[in-house]
């Protein structure tokens, strides 16, 4: 449990300390990458809770989603269509769905836990 948290903190520190500048044009990609990362993260947590977690799927999903989102945004910029909106929309919807599923599972677990405590 402490390992992912440690990793997150390490990543945050790295990100905050990095003094790299990227052009304004590419900042859309970054926002999409953030969304994709969050989505995959929550998807992984949901899968874990549902008992269908597979680290291969998780890892590939994470990187592939990030790259796909960035690629979509890139394409959108070059085609003159705001395709990154599609990515944001899709990821946003999935984010909420994942969170809803996690919430329900946690609620069900909590209820089950309470019941067993009562039964005892």
């Amino acid at each position: 449990m402490w390992l992912p948290l440690l990793g997150l903190l390490l990543g945050l520190a790295l990100g905050l300390l990095t003094d790299m500048q990227i052009p304004v044009v590419y900042q859309n990609y970054l926002s999409i990458a953030v969304l994709a990362a969050l989505d995959t993260l929550l998807g992984g947590i949901r899968a874990q809770l549902q008992g269908v977690y597979d680290d291969k799927v998780f890892v590939t999903g994470f990187f592939f989603n990030v790259l796909l989102a960035a690629g979509l945004a890139f394409l959108g910029v070059h085609l003159g269509v705001d395709l990154y909106l599609a990515a944001i929309f899709a990821f946003g919807v999935r984010l909420f769905q994942n969170i809803a599923v996690i919430r329900r599972i946690l609620l069900a677990k909590w209820d089950a836990h309470k019941n067993t405590a009562k039964n005892k």
Partner: protein, 238 residues
Amino acid sequence: MKRPNKKIFSRKQFVILIVFISVGFIIGYSYDLTKEKRIAGKVDSQQLVREDVYREELINQQERNKELSEEVDQLQQSIRANEKLLIEGQEHAEQYVKRAEDLRLYLGDIPSKGKGVRVLLEDAAYDPKHANPNDYIVHESHVFSVINELKIAGAEAIAVNGKRLNANSYIRCTGPVIVVDGQQFPAPFIVEAVGEQKTLSASLNLRGGIIDQLLHDNIVVTIEENDNIAMPSTNAEN
């Protein structure tokens, strides 16, 4: 199950760690970037405000410059006008100086010198036929008429026996002598006048003029044109 136990953490945990580091990095980096942008935006707005202030100052300065250059134009024009006036004034000034000189001469404020005429009035020799000596001595009226004639003829300055006359001078008769401005003079009387010699002598010698009248009154008149007549100013003490 043996392998994960040997290592500090399993492959699965390692993968999760990598993913979390990536997520953390992306989120942190994004946050950092947005923060910089916010700060940059603030700086931009400050710069905009400052730019506005500077622009306003610049506009004010330019307006002031415009006003000042207009003022310069006006001043230059007035200088030109004044210069023109000055030139005209200089042209006039010569005339004024000449006129002032004439007036000074007329008032007798300055000594006069130059060409002129000298009129000598002498009593006639004693004539026993005439019982009344008044008939053959020079009266102040004779001197008057000579002076008046000379003035009318344009004499610049007139003196009687070396006494300069001015506009306020008076001549009185006191028996055998005449008083000019409080100074007594006996005969013969010398009336000197500075001016155009020809005009002066011509006007004196007019037929039926002053000379004829004087001769008729038995007065010996001598008119002499002199190129160097000098007389003092009225203020000078004799």
